[in-house]
């Protein structure tokens, strides 16, 4: 940051400069009209301030993209991709609701797995290996594996990227299954010399 824009207080603390605050407000869409006019004056008056602003904005964009990628891996649905943009949560919510409703419609609650134990257990209704949860169930040796007692309480469905949140239902032995929406990409390292 240009030294001319850094304020030093007598207490020896490092107060935030006006330029940093204005840039941060601008990047966060929190700047008022007065803030924007003040920032504009500072940027026109000092090329170093302009360079600092442009570098800050570029770094913020990079960080936003990196965090967006990490957020997608973590199953975080962006609520507002941009001000006034599409409400992605509504779309995801409708999808989740449809999945949940279909899951309860298709699966008798008595067939839902209960965590505990350590070995795979056949459920009352089998899951398609590598196929759709909602496809007609095959008669093969597909199964739901139960987590060991020490694991976090969740159930992983074999041969699929889907994961589920399992929570206790209203009645004893009844569990809710909530789909966790996420997309994972797999990368294969190419080591052979073509």
């Amino acid at each position: 940051m240009p030294d001319s824009h850094r304020n030093h207080d007598p207490a020896g603390r490092d107060p935030l400069s006006e330029l940093e605050r204005l840039i941060s407000r601008h990047l966060d869409h929190e700047a008022t009209d007065a803030d924007r006019r003040r920032l504009d004056r500072l940027l026109h008056a000092d090329p170093r301030a302009r360079a600092y602003f442009e570098e800050s904005a570029a770094l913020d964009r990079e960080l936003h993209q990196a965090l967006g990628w990490a957020g997608r891996q973590a199953g975080i649905v962006r609520v507002r991709a941009a001000r006034g943009g599409l409400r992605l949560s509504m779309v995801a919510g409708l999808g989740l609701a449809a999945c949940l409703a279909a899951a309860f419609w298709l699966l008798p609650t008595s067939s839902l797995p209960v965590s505990g134990g350590g070995s795979p257990t056949h459920a009352g209704q089998v899951l398609p290996a590598g196929g759709s949860w909602f496809a007609p169930p095959p008669l093969g040796d597909t199964f739901i594996s139960e987590s060991p007692a020490g694991d976090p309480p969740h159930v992983r469905v074999e041969d699929t990227e889907r994961e589920w949140i399992v929570v206790p239902g209203q009645r004893a032995g009844e569990y809710l299954i909530l789909e966790v929406k996420r997309i994972r990409a797999k990368q294969v390292r190419i080591e052979r010399d073509f």
Binding site: S24, G71, R80, S89
Partner: protein, 190 residues
């Protein structure tokens, strides 16, 4: 946060129904809160690869403890406390186990496949570097920074959740940016 549940009476009714076992209400609570709960977990741990497991623990705890929630209108702050504590616990146990670094995790899970082979390697390195810098931030700076970027929340919304004045949120975001810039400037120039 302008959803219907922001309305106290609606929220009270929704939580009340979930407390007595309404599946629809429980489903709606998850749908409306899961994304920011996950952002809080990410903000506290700085590790996206831990979020899924911790989020599942959080929701399991929520359903176990929901009947004891006396003030449904405080659901958000209650959920925040549950998520934050679970994330802190997971972080501590991870450190005890000396789990792999962010870089190792990024290597093992790979790229998103949207760019070519060369671009993906460079892009992945830059992304890993950026995320490591975010992970290196003190948690009180990282939390609002992650919420700002992942939830696109205003200073007021972030302050409301974290229990901080708007001015403090702003100060933390400015300081987070300053720290990130200091950490990354030389690396990105190179």
């Amino acid at each position: 946060m302008s959803s219907a549940t922001a309305d106290t009476s609606v929220l009270r009714e929704l939580v009340g129904e979930a407390q007595v076992g309404s599946r629809v209400a429980a489903d709606r609570l998850v749908r409306e809160h899961d994304h920011w709960v996950r952002s809080v977990i990410f903000g506290v741990t700085g590790r996206w690869d831990l979020v899924d497991d911790i989020a599942q623990q959080v929701w399991t705890q929520v359903w176990e403890r929901l009947p004891s929630l006396k003030e449904p209108e405080r659901l958000r702050s209650w959920l925040y406390a549950v998520a934050r504590n679970a994330a802190i616990d997971a972080n501590q146990s991870r450190r005890r186990r000396s789990a792999g670094s962010l870089e190792a995790v990024a290597d093992s899970l790979g790229d998103d496949g949207r760019s070519g082979p060369v671009g993906s390697v460079v892009g992945r390195e830059v992304r890993t570097m950026l995320l490591q810098a975010v992970e290196a931030l003190p948690v009180h700076y990282r939390e609002p920074f992650v919420l700002r970027h992942l939830q696109d929340w205003s200073y007021a919304e972030i302050g409301d959740l974290l229990g901080l004045p708007v001015e403090t949120v702003e100060t933390r975001l400015v300081r987070a940016r300053r720290l990130l810039r200091e950490m990354l400037q030389d690396k990105l120039d190179a």
